[in-house]
């Protein structure tokens, strides 16, 4: 299980490859993943700043990972979330759940992203032509 909050740009597929290389090959028959990307809204949004609550954010992501591992028959989880300044097209979040079978992998992956979206302390501020705006 791993949780990472990073100010660095990351490639979700490379991150999945690297994390899988650390797992015992052949144990997991199924992995469900979700990747969230900053959409390009055209000219109006030039970039985004993602603020978090250092300490609490990581704790919260670890606690939902623990909950997922207890609630579903899954073997491992990975969450990576970007913070700081980013540009349209950049990956914001990666969530993955490994399991022997597909149903718990899907359900745990969906649970993680829904909990993350609704309660993990992250806040987005968009940079617009006319200034900056916190998302609601």
């Amino acid at each position: 299980m791993k949780v990472e909050v990073t100010p660095n740009e990351f490639n979700p597929w490379t991150s999945l490859q690297v994390y899988e290389d650390s797992l015992v090959a052949g144990k997991c028959g199924a992995v469900a993943t979700f990747v969230g990307t900053m959409r390009d809204e055209g000219e109006t949004v030039q970039g985004m700043f993602l603020e978090h609550y250092p300490g609490m954010t990581e704790n919260y992501l670890l606690s939902i990972s623990d909950t997922a591992l207890q609630r579903w028959d899954i073997l491992d989880t990975l969450i990576i979330h970007r913070v700081g300044n980013m540009l349209p097209g950049d990956t914001i979040v990666l969530v993955a759940a490994w399991a022997a079978h597909r149903a718990p992998a899907f359900e745990a992956c969906r649970f993680l992203i829904e909990e993350l979206k609704s309660k993990a302390p992250f806040w987005k501020r968009e940079s617009l032509d006319e200034g900056e705006r916190w998302l609601k």
Partner: protein
């Protein structure tokens, strides 16, 4: 001392990111807000955490605790 933190748009609204409050006895989270924000009313949509875990405004905190106030989250 109680550490009080504000995040995101709320940090900009209250005009401070982190302050320390001297306390003689335990306070509720609501009382911490009042002391930290010159008795301004606590906005209804604001979320609260004590020592990095979600809390409600009635929880008692004391010296050494960290209390945070922030707007609804928008990550992911």
């Amino acid at each position: 001392m109680i550490t009080v933190k504000f995040f995101a748009s709320l940090r900009e609204q209250v005009g401070k990111g982190e302050i320390q409050l001297d306390v003689a006895e335990p306070l509720s989270v609501a009382q911490v807000w009042a002391q930290a924000c010159d008795n301004a009313p606590l906005p209804s949509h604001i979320l609260m955490a004590v020592n990095m875990e979600y809390s409600d405004q009635n929880r008692l905190v004391d010296a050494g605790d960290e209390v945070a106030f922030f707007p609804p989250v928008t990550g992911g």
